[in-house]
């Protein structure tokens, strides 16, 4: 017996078990995290059934309509004062999303499941997603065009369906009008504003420069007049469009029996989840998912999409890669190939390695102090004097954020480059040199191509790190809500001085800064899931790349000794 235990220990099996256990634990943690985020985040887009019930817990009993957002079992003692010697047991309660925030004040409420009576799921119960005030739950009761009823008020079977279809056709009309308004605001008005701002800056430049500028100023005034005329015209058109879009309203009977009237222009999406089969549900699901990925945020970021954040993250990461790759690779090549082997090089190498361990907020402080105040301030004084005191580059922005993160991830790229170069077998360098290649030719034709996968690994790790970084970004350019994207159709197209939105900060904002915690939570999970998915994908590709690199060297080894 003893012998066999000793044998078992000697065989190394315990080690294998411990290793396998550790690996399993790591995997389980990663996948568990992804699963939690995925279920909580992505599940939230699936249309939930809406219940109608009478809540006897209120005095007098109230009729309520809502979606179940969460349910839990709690100790009854927490709710009612404990009576000595009496066991109260546990009770179940549910968090209901009641919506109608504009009417009732709050849109979430905890109710005791046992006190819900007459629970039903009427198929004609509608969920109205609105641009403001969150969801509205109720029954479509009528439609009005410029104040006049379109179809007879009062829910008759048959006319209910017709009314629902009429609502959708009017929704489509409102959507087209809104598109037109947005187009005008985004391109034409932005062009005019841009031109006016240019004129203002030119005038200020003229004044700053002194001298005779009467002629130029007159020309400017003429241009301004033409802009003003254009603007007045556009404004009239916008007013007209806005009047048109406000034409239609819809009437809903809500939980307490009263009827509310809301403009159709405020409705993003309307559906009746209780009556939907899974095909329709899937359609709604993907419509919401697409809005999430490609729309603008609404309602203090708690609803709508996160395109600006996704876009800002991508822009920043790209700009950072463009900066950090050449810098890191060149520095790595110098350190590993050319730097004389001495104490100075060793100190530099140790410093670079240690830079990777500096807390990221410190980089944020550095970016704020050095890049923004010093470099940015200097740029403003030299090139943008006419718009001072309003800063152009002397304020947090995309460029400074990218530079700060480039600095932050520089050690990763340098170390990866050095490692890749160091892994190239000496025999290959010697082969190249023995054929009469110079050191540079050897580097360029033999060593660098072999080290490329490992440099790429470094870059991907850097990107993954940058995509997930939040703390330094808060200091150097990320905002909760950016008025415009850093890349658009206005010359010069890329605006590196603008502030931008970022996925990581978006999560932080939703999770901790939102006034409406319950409403923000699903969105926070969905954003977190997206962020984790992006970072995980990047890391996985790094792993795959490294695997390929190793395989390449292994092939070389066995080749040599076959």
């Amino acid at each position: 017996m003893k012998r066999s235990l000793a044998n078992w220990l000697d065989s190394g099996a315990p080690w294998v078990w411990i290793n396998a256990g550790a690996a399993t634990l790591c995997l389980a943690m990663v996948f568990g995290l992804l699963l939690l985020l995925g279920v909580k985040g992505l599940g939230h887009f699936w249309p939930q059934p809406v219940l109608q019930a009478t809540y006897t817990g209120a005095e007098p009993p109230a009729s309520i309509i809502g979606e179940v957002a969460a349910s839990e079992t709690i100790d009854a003692d927490d709710l009612y004062p404990a009576t000595p010697g009496e066991e109260q047991g546990e009770i179940e309660r549910q968090l209901l999303k009641l919506g109608n925030r504009d009417i009732t004040g709050g849109d979430f409420a905890w109710v005791l499941t046992g006190l819900l009576e007459d629970v039903s799921y009427p198929p004609e119960l509608a969920v109205i997603e609105r641009r403001e005030w969150g969801n509205l739950y109720g029954y479509l009761n009528g439609l009005r065009q410029a104040g006049a009823a379109v179809l007879p008020v009062g829910a008759q079977d048959g006319t209910g369906e017709a009314r629902w279809n009429e609502l959708h056709s009017r929704l489509d009309r409102a959507r087209d009008l809104r598109r037109e308004i947005e187009r005008i605001e985004r391109s034409i008005i932005a062009d005019i504003n841009f031109g006016m701002e240019r004129l203002r800056l030119e005038e200020r430049q003229l004044v700053l420069a002194g001298g005779d500028s009467a002629g130029a100023l007159r020309e400017n005034a003429r241009q301004r007049e033409s802009f003003d005329a254009q603007y007045a015209e556009i404004r009239l058109r916008l007013l007209e469009l806005n009047r048109q879009i406000q034409r239609d309203t819809a009437l809903f009977r809500i939980a307490d029996g009263s009827t509310v009237e809301i403009p159709i222009a405020d409705i993003v999406r309307a559906h009746r989840p209780n009556g939907m089969d899974w095909v329709e549900s899937t359609r709604v699901y993907f419509a919401r998912l697409i809005e999430f990925l490609s729309g603008n945020p609404r309602e203090a970021n708690t609803e709508g999409g996160l395109l600006p954040a996704l876009y800002g993250t991508a822009m920043m990461v790209m700009l950072m890669s463009v900066i950090v790759t050449p810098l890191g690779v060149v520095a790595g090549v110098y350190l590993s190939e050319y730097a004389p082997r001495g104490w100075l090089t060793r100190i530099i190498r140790v410093s670079v390695n240690n830079l990777a361990g500096v807390p990221s907020i410190v980089y944020g402080m550095f970016g704020l102090g050095f890049f923004i105040y010093l470099a940015g301030g200097e740029i403003d004084r030299l090139f943008y004097a006419e718009s001072l005191p309003a800063p152009t580059f002397g304020t947090p922005g995309l460029l400074w954020a990218s530079l700060t993160l480039a600095l932050l991830t520089l050690p990763v790229v340098i170390v990866a480059t050095e490692e890749g170069l160091g892994n190239v077998p000496a025999s290959l360098r010697e082969a190249s040199l023995a054929l009469g290649a110079t050191q540079f030719e050897t580097l360029w034709r033999v060593v660098l191509p072999l080290a490329r996968p490992s440099m790429l690994t470094g870059l991907i790790l850097a990107v993954a790190r940058a995509a997930g970084e939040v703390a330094p970004l808060m200091l150097v350019g990320v905002v909760k809500l950016a008025p415009s994207l850093p890349l658009d159709t206005q010359f010069p197209y890329l605006h590196p001085e603008q502030q931008f939105m970022h996925l990581g900060y978006h999560v932080f904002d939703l999770a901790t800064q939102s006034p409406n915690v319950e409403a923000a939570m699903p969105q926070a999970f969905a954003t977190a899931f997206l962020l984790v998915a992006v970072v995980t994908a990047l890391n996985l590709s790094a792993v795959v790349l490294r695997g390929r690199l190793r395989e390449r060297y292994r092939a070389m080894d066995t080749g040599a000794w076959a």
Binding site: L428, R429, E430, A555
Partner: protein
């Protein structure tokens, strides 16, 4: 003929006294940590002859070859003293262009080290370095070199496949072809036939005999029959010292030193 310090070579089997090509005098080499690999080596390599370097493992044969193309320059803390002359010129002089030297003195390594590129690119590497761009000329030289190294027939269908897919022996011939492609004056072959089958070995030996008309060749080998077959001169080294150097016939039939005799009769140890 030069006299004095650089003494003459003994006449070869045909009674001809060859010219010296590479000469070392008092050549000593120490690696890091004071490990002495060569000790006052004195050797004259005859031009357009085959010289075999034999000796027990670790005696310094590779180290000596690497002195001829200054590859030891790359080794940290490697100290070389003494003189090495190529065609009468000190190759360790300050103004010597090392890449130029390495073009003249080609080396095939003990372990085959093909680049992780295609077979074609391996052979064309040195040519591209030299600035040859013409596709026709590259094709021509690649084929010539591969044929000379007895590899062409085996790889002509897959020139653009990775060289790492070749067998060990094929790789050994590939790196020979790669060195032949750049047409050096001196060819240093470090145990280049050690992983080859008898037929390929024979082909390589034929190639060596063929090449000596134009090249000066130094081969390192543990195979004494091979040394006897192909070499005109043979040098026996032991523990970093040049024990004996003479025509192959003399070394193998009538060695002066006892250590040499013990080594070639297999009683060494």
């Amino acid at each position: 003929m030069k006299g004095g310090e650089f003494s003459e070579l003994n006449p070869d089997a045909d009674g001809v006294r060859p010219e010296p090509c590479l000469e070392t005098r008092n050549l000593s080499l120490r690696y890091a940590g004071n490990r002495r690999a060569l000790n006052k080596v004195r050797l004259t390599i005859p031009r357009q002859r085959v010289t075999a370097l034999i000796g027990p493992s670790g005696c310094g044969k590779t180290s000596l070859l690497r002195c001829f193309n200054r590859l030891n320059d790359l080794v940290d803390d490697c100290v070389i003293t003494g003189r090495v002359r190529l065609e009468g010129k000190n190759i360790y002089a300050a103004k010597v262009d090392v890449t130029e030297l390495r073009r003249r003195v080609g080396m095939v390594f003990q372990k085959p080290n093909p680049f992780p590129k295609s077979i074609y690119e391996n052979v064309a590497f040195g040519l591209r370095i030299r600035g040859i761009k013409s596709r026709r000329r590259l094709d021509e030289i690649v084929q010539e070199s591969l044929s000379a190294a007895a590899l062409w027939d085996e790889v002509k269908g897959r020139l653009h496949k990775s060289a790492l897919e070749l067998s060990g022996g094929q790789q050994q011939r590939l790196v020979i072809a790669r060195t032949l492609a750049v047409a050096p004056e001196v060819l240093l072959l470090d145990e280049s036939a050690s992983a080859l089958d008898p037929i390929s070995t024979l082909k390589i030996e034929e190639l060596i005999s063929e090449l000596k008309k134009n090249y000066t060749i130094v081969i390192v080998t543990h195979n004494l029959q091979q040394a006897a077959r192909v070499a005109d001169y043979t040098a026996f080294m032991d523990m970093g010292e040049m024990v004996e150097f003479d025509t192959t016939a003399r070394i193998f039939t009538n060695p002066v030193k006892r250590r040499t005799e013990e080594y070639i009769t297999g009683r060494y140890g």
